[in-house]
Symmetry: C2
Subunit: 189 residues, 2 copies
């Protein structure tokens, strides 16, 4: 009875890659077991259930994305930082559609608080330092930024922009221009 050397880390990584190839909804315990040359029941020694697998993919993705964003942000400020953040975000989502989709699942509060999600929040606020916004405008602006990024990437992926010929890259960069414009001139109450 040779041991296959399965660990939670290896499982998570394989699951993430599988998600990018076939979609999160098709990441199955059985498929992973096959990949590791192991019976599916054996994976429950490492995993509580199938849901844990998706959560782990999500946490991995959050951490990876936070690293990328941090790297992109280094030494930049103002609109430069905004664009770098946005592009890092969008590029990651396009390179890793399955991981990105996994990121959208509902984490329970404790898990979310312990995740790399807090780093995202911090970095987003850091960008806004270049725009001199005070609370509560800052919170509203963070939420609007995040909404725009996620919404655009999400609609782009599900084909929501397909009916118009205009290249999405162009709309993306113009959207960032617009975002920079509102942040610079945030409307007062």
């Amino acid at each position: 009875m040779a041991r296959a050397g399965v660990t939670v880390e290896r499982l998570t990584l394989a699951a993430a890659e599988l998600a990018d190839e076939v979609g999160v909804e098709n990441v199955t315990v059985a498929a992973l077991a096959r990949q590791f040359g192991v019976k599916d029941a054996s994976l429950y020694f490492h995993l509580k259930n199938a849901h844990e697998l998706r959560v782990r993919i999500a946490l991995l993705a959050l951490a990876e994305l936070a690293d990328r964003v941090a790297a992109a942000l280094a030494g930049r400020a103002g609109k430069d930082a905004l664009v770098a953040f946005a592009n890092a975000y969008r590029d990651y989502a396009r390179e890793h559609p399955g991981r990105y989709a996994a990121m959208q699942i509902d984490l329970d509060p404790e898990t979310a608080a312990a995740s790399a999600g807090v780093r995202h929040a911090e970095m987003t606020r850091a960008i806004l330092r270049g725009y001199r916004l005070s609370e509560p405008d800052q919170t509203d602006a963070v939420r609007m930024m995040h909404s725009t990024f996620h919404g655009f990437v999400s609609l782009e992926k599900t084909g929501g922009f397909r009916h118009t010929p205009r290249p999405t890259d162009d709309s993306w960069s113009r959207t960032l221009d617009a975002l920079d414009a509102v942040l610079t001139n945030w409307p007062s109450r």
Copy 2:
């Protein structure tokens, strides 16, 4: 052998309601069959497969939402219309989370072209008439608007805004103010 009176329309409606209660991912042919007091195999007489069910929910939702938006837009223009559109969108998403989630599935091009999705596109462009934008700015603005709405609603639902105490309603109305501001003063190249 009494007949249960199953039709595709009744199935779709029941599926949509089920989706709002338990989530689209839990809308199953078996569960629907139970609701109709019928064996699951019988539903394949009315349905090609489980995927068709979700597509039908999506098309129903698109049509319902288009109706709501059209009603909200009647007699309004400018920022008034923008806010009415946005609120109709967000309210629908919150009242019908399952239907809204179903709307995000990837429709194949022909189905999408024949859906109420085109009405949405037309209505969004109609709003922009109040802002005097010409192509290709108009397309970019439509995409940004849609991104913002979808992104906000989506993040709000999955709890992406939970870590900050500020009421999401407030951020929402400020986001609409900001959107109105950029549309009014769309940055030139």
